[in-house]
């Protein structure tokens, strides 16, 4: 019996993985080949999808970019027994994109069947939760604090401190809300984890509940992720059946219930307070802080809000100890970051490594440069609200503080690559346009400033009163930055200003003009 693995990740599906899986089963049957087909998440080497793997005594061997038409020949050639074939990339875990990664949060993604609890346990799952169940709440929190884990959603706030605040707050009801509203273009790590290893997130949320005394968890997933929603719902049903969720978590006295809530196509609902409003069934209008959600959160109760990646790092931290996680990283950015290489990139996908890798290494060595083969012009890091950086920033260490010092923002760790055909005035205009489209409308600088921003950029590009309009744009950016309640209006100036500063010629600004 040969074990064949085909991803069910939606990026793999977008390249025909479902059809390939069906063709493999049919072809194997008609050729009398005894196989078991297992659906997994994706390894994150997305340019190789559909990446079919076969188990051998040496490890799993991959066959890249398999089409349905290629399947009968692949099986006939004996590749499933020998591993040799023109599409073979050899041992998947020895691939140069993969072998130097440090997969902590993504350890099981692409390896296991995402909907098998036994597979999950056989690969180190539930160890962290079992340890947490033996600890006091305060001990669990201190493990997370000592690990140095910071919020992976973008703000980078220390998770342990947030948890401590919720633990310290007395209330009849507390909540754990997982922010899975991964709306930033260029990011897909949350989606890949939810589709490829949902029990890691579920385990992380249960541990969080034990740590702060919350018995109810909610995962807010964007509606653009139907496959992730489906897998999460199935995983939660299995976890309830297994006794992982429910009134006695793994037979203990701890209770934890978990539910998926689906968004409805609003970017700003990824902002934590807008998400809370949306979870309460309302318009996703941002709330003013303070009070912080850790004190007054969902339905006014103390609430932990963490990103998928933050919560999914927790099981490993508990399993292997805070020190092991803390040992990785760069300066005040501890642990690993799941970087996502996106846009015009030759080898797009997921790179999980310790903080501190340089931007150039990620784009050139891992990513292999642009997909078009043209020179890289710029990268946008951290989603639509992140700054554009040029190749002169290639040596910047990818970590919260060092990136901020270079004028950038890590955000959710997505890197979108543009080649030299990109027009940065267009990109700056889009940033304002996007803000106008997605602003919740609560504060004026964001709601009106974004529309005015589009107009001013248009005038600059048209060469109208350039000096005056540049001044106006700068003034507008300042008001938006300082006068907006949340990052939507507050950070939209980041891509605008950085594009203008790096590529003034794209705006039709003559060299030497005052910016």
């Amino acid at each position: 019996m040969i074990k064949v693995f085909v991803p069910l990740d939606s990026a793999a599906l977008s390249m025909g993985a479902d059809e390939v899986a069906i063709a493999i089963v049919q072809s194997a049957a008609s050729q009398g080949k005894d196989i078991t087909l297992i659906r997994t998440g994706s390894r994150g080497m997305l340019w190789l999808e559909p990446l079919v793997e076969v188990e051998t005594s040496a490890g799993r061997i991959g066959f890249a970019n398999i089409s349905t038409e290629a399947v009968p020949e692949l099986i006939k050639s004996g590749a499933l027994d020998t591993g040799s074939h023109k599409s073979s990339i050899g041992l998947v875990e020895e691939h140069d994109f993969f072998k130097n990664q440090n997969r902590v949060t993504f350890a099981r993604v692409g390896v296991i069947d995402p909907l098998s609890i036994s597979d999950y346990e056989n690969h180190g799952g539930l160890v962290g939760l079992r340890k947490a169940l033996e600890m006091s709440a305060a001990e669990v929190v201190s493990q997370v604090t000592e690990s140095g884990l910071r919020g992976r959603g973008g703000a980078g706030f220390p998770a342990g401190i947030k948890w401590q605040t919720v633990l310290n707050t007395q209330s009849d009801q507390k909540y754990i809300c997982c922010n899975a509203d991964e709306g930033d273009s260029g990011t897909f790590a949350d989606r890949m984890l939810m589709e490829g290893d949902p029990f890691t997130l579920i385990e992380g949320m249960i541990i969080s509940g034990i740590a702060v005394g919350a018995t109810q968890g909610l995962i807010y997933v964007r509606s653009e992720y139907p496959h992730a929603i489906d897998i999460l719902n199935r995983a939660i049903a299995m976890a309830n059946e297994y006794g992982l969720l429910g009134s006695n978590v793994l037979g203990s006295k701890s209770a934890f219930a978990l539910e998926v809530r689906v968004g409805a196509g609003s970017y700003v609902c990824g902002e934590e307070t807008a998400m809370l409003e949306s979870l309460e069934g309302k318009r996703g209008m941002v709330r003013a802080k303070p009070p912080i959600p850790a004190l007054v959160g969902l339905f006014g109760k103390p609430t932990v809000i963490n990103n998928v990646m933050t919560l999914s790092a927790v099981p490993m931290i508990l399993a292997q100890g805070a020190a092991a996680y803390q040992a990785l990283g760069h300066e005040r950015s501890r642990g690993t970051q799941v970087f996502q290489l996106a846009g015009n990139i030759k080898r797009g996908g997921v790179v999980e490594v310790a903080f501190g890798i340089t931007l150039g290494e990620l784009v050139d060595i891992y990513g292999g440069g642009t997909n078009s083969g043209k020179p890289v012009k710029t990268v946008q890091i951290g989603g639509p609200l992140g700054a554009y950086l040029g190749t002169e920033s290639w040596d910047v260490a990818m970590a919260y503080e060092s990136l901020a010092q270079a004028g950038g923002m890590l955000g959710h760790g997505g890197i979108v690559v543009f080649d030299d055909t990109a027009n940065m005035a267009k990109q700056a205009r889009f940033a304002m346009e996007f803000c106008a489209e997605e602003s919740c409308g609560k504060c004026t600088p964001c709601r009106i400033g974004s529309t005015r921003g589009v107009e001013v950029i248009d005038r600059i590009v048209a060469g109208e009163d350039q000096e005056k309009n540049l001044e106006l744009l700068e003034d507008l950016c300042e008001v938006m930055t300082d006068g907006s309640l949340c990052a939507m209006g507050g950070l939209t100036p980041m891509p605008v200003r950085s594009a203008l500063k790096l590529f003034p010629a794209d705006f039709g600004i003559k060299t030497g003009a005052k910016l």
Partner: protein, 153 residues
């Protein structure tokens, strides 16, 4: 609401009766059931959740997923966000436009409707699209239309 009586919709929303916090979920349920949210359903949700019509209408208009008219048999979502811009989605959009599909107006042609969306989470294999929930990577107008036509019964 031709096939659904007021009563059957209220029945469907039953579990959320009197829950003001279920406005969004109720609207999502109606859209799941009917494919869109007819104006009359806004009143039903308001009645069921025990809130004013204005409150429900406010939620309905805030979220871009909701539609007030029936969708085409096939709905194509085309990503217009940065990663797909970097992967040449402008050409894709203009090709689709050339074939009579406008992602901005969302007008229906041959039972196919195309809409813009901001990010489908397939940013390494752009341009990205989704046809009735089926993801398409490295999308071309040909691959999108082929998938769409296959789905028309």
């Amino acid at each position: 609401m031709s096939n659904y009586s007021e009563e059957s919709i209220l029945n469907y929303l039953g579990p959320y009766k009197g829950e003001a916090s279920a406005i969004l979920r109720s609207l999502q349920l109606v859209q799941e059931l009917l494919g869109y949210v007819p104006d009359s359903a806004i009143d039903l949700v308001a009645k069921n959740s025990n809130v004013s019509r204005a409150e429900v209408y406010g939620v309905f208009t805030f979220y871009s997923d909701f539609r007030s008219t029936p969708p085409a048999q096939v709905v194509v979502k085309v990503c217009v966000a940065e990663a797909c811009q970097a992967s040449g989605n402008a050409e894709l959009i203009s090709q689709l436009h050339g074939q009579g599909y406008d992602i901005h107006s969302g007008k229906i042609k041959d039972d196919i409707q195309m809409e813009q969306t901001f990010c489908l989470g397939n940013c390494a294999l752009g341009p990205a699209a989704m046809v009735n929930g089926k993801p398409i990577g490295r999308a071309t107008s040909a691959s999108i239309l082929k998938t769409a036509v296959e789905l028309i019964s």
